[in-house]
């Protein structure tokens, strides 16, 4: 039932992916500038540039080029980066896990801190905890992630140097054998606990910097949705029947309020993939967002298309996951799906 609707959404997502691939494929190629010339540099001869253009079918009509791209994609080949001269899939496999690890930890921080702030704000509406919570949320929302990055580096890396400000691990820590690409997981799989804590230590500042905007948004949304729910008859009923205030807040008011919040949380999570770029720059984090911007600047055609497709796929998958979660916590949708 739920899975049936998830499959339907997956189908829709595939269609969206085809559309995005055509769009980004065309956009990357109509942008001014000759990618072969940029890749080979100003000193290359015209013959060398022409050779590279021929090798990459850059002179063929767009539909032909797209067809070649699709054929290669069906073999799991996203082409070759003009810049690193490696298969794009290799580059992505190297950079994507770093970003995913960062974004996932940020999302966890966003939820674990943003939700309680929102719940407490609504519960103590108009009183001190509410004012504090709203202030935190407001500052979080209106300060860009890279500013958070610099502030956190300044305070916790310089004035009070308790956190490293760059990279994923110390120089002295051996890079764990690559299994998932998530250092937090790989270090534990390798049984290297000190390396795990080193990776975590490096993750905290960038993850907090990236989480702040979403955290503020989560707190604000949770608060306003909770306050709306507090006016519903079923909350008066809960109070009239002597349910404990804490139980009302965390259960009877939270669940109905969380349904609309969750949808936005999914979007915030997806937005982090894009925002990660600035945080990755500030913290020297070798992630896919930084890679994506680098390849756009170099007009590295295959790499641009590959990166955009991967990020779009992550976005779409996230949306499907959120839809499934919403239908799990919202009985109306769950039961309607069961009938259909």
């Amino acid at each position: 039932m739920i899975w049936k609707s998830a499959l339907r959404r997956l189908g829709a997502a595939l269609i969206v992916m085809v559309g995005i691939s055509m769009l980004i494929f065309a956009i990357a190629r109509v942008m001014p500038g000759d990618p072969a010339r940029i890749a080979l540099g100003p000193n290359a001869s015209a013959a060398q540039v022409a050779a590279l253009r021929a090798e990459r079918h850059l002179d063929a009509p767009l539909p032909i080029q797209y067809w070649e791209f699709v054929k290669a994609l069906s073999r799991g080949d996203l082409g070759k980066s003009l810049y690193t001269n490696r298969p794009v899939t290799t580059d992505i496999a190297q950079f994507l896990p770093a970003t995913l690890e960062l974004v996932i930890v940020s999302a966890i921080i966003m939820v674990l801190i943003g939700l309680p702030i929102g719940i407490l704000s609504a519960h103590f509406r108009g009183r001190l905890p509410d004012h504090v919570g709203r202030l935190i949320a407001l500052i979080g929302v209106c300060t860009p992630a890279f500013v958070w990055g610099v502030i956190l580096q300044l305070f916790f890396g310089y004035f009070w140097p308790v956190f490293p400000i760059e990279g994923r691990l110390l120089e002295s820590t051996p890079v764990p054998p690559d299994v998932t690409g998530f250092f937090l997981v790989d270090t534990l799989l390798a049984g290297n606990v000190p390396a795990f804590f080193d990776a975590l230590h490096h993750l905290i500042l960038p993850a907090v910097a990236l989480a702040m905007a979403g955290l503020g948004q989560t707190a604000r949304l949770t608060r306003s949705n909770m306050i709306e729910v507090y006016d519903r008859p079923y909350i008066e009923m809960a109070r009239a029947y002597g349910f404990r205030p804490l139980r009302i807040a965390t259960r009877y008011a939270f669940r109905p309020a969380f349904i609309p919040t969750l949808t936005i949380l999914g979007l915030e999570f997806a937005a982090m993939l894009g925002n990660a770029f600035l945080v990755e720059k500030v913290f020297g984090w070798p992630g896919i967002s930084r890679y994506g911007v680098d390849v756009i600047i170099r007009k590295d055609l295959d790499a641009i298309v590959g990166t955009v497709l991967i990020i779009a796929a992550a976005f779409l998958i996230m949306n499907i996951v959120v839809d499934i979660l919403v239908s799990i916590i919202n009985p109306r949708i769950r039961l309607a799906a069961g009938r259909g």
């Binding site: 009239a240 029947y241 349910f243 669940r255 916590i329 109306r332």
Partner: protein, 295 residues
Amino acid sequence: MSEPVLTIRDLRLAFGGRRGHPVLHGISLHVRAGEKVALVGESGSGKSVTARLAMGLLQESPRVHATGSIRFDGIEAISGGRDIARRRGNRVAMIFQDPTSALNPTFRIRGQFRDVLRSGDRGISAAEADRRAEAALAEVSIPDPKRALDSYAFQLSGGMNQRVMIAMALANRPALLIADEPGTALDVTVQAQTLGLMSDLTEKRGTAVLLISHNLGVVREFSDRVYVIYRGRIVEHGTTAQLFAEPRHPYTRALLAAIPKISGGGLPDLPERSPEFESPLIVHEGCGEPVEARA
């Protein structure tokens, strides 16, 4: 005559603090054990607010300024607090206008019923709570209690939800049941059925009922005694028989005249305000304040 379960004396309420907007101007009423009392008035007269104050539901708000006295079950509830909170769902329960929206849409009846029973017995086990919930639902003639417990409110009909509410309200055998326009959101037949059910069950258990209503037909069927409330004041008080046979206050007369009649003639007008309606309280014979409260 038994001692009242609920005695409200000179209850005044203003929204927005001491100098705020006055809503109640000295309400006094009492409900004795096992008695069915109606509080009748048009919307905005202050009847619902009186009921909510009696349950201590409004006092938390800093905008609410209430004075006077609300004695319930041996405690003073005028300023809210833990004593009255502990009695909610246990010694006093409430039935709402629209039962479907009064049940949480994201939890099954089972979970909500368990929490209701926990208000009466904090240590009750889930299995014991379910057993008692099933028995309570069977008592309100719900055909398949197990299935009802596993349902969400939006899966049940309004009438079914009303029965569930009645079962929840009476599950902990409260001394007082406050029914706030019960079932006004339901159709007339279902409303009559559930009122009958509520009447039977409370009579059987000796539960006192404070019925809040604007519907004089319902009041006449249901209650022993009636308070008529107009713009935050009680204007007439008597037994149901007295009041319907011989309404004395101009407002009560106007209310009674406004009951639509099948014989035709359309709906008579009830003037929104009239200087006559402000005339002083009329108490019918034998309906004075209880001796205990006066002392």
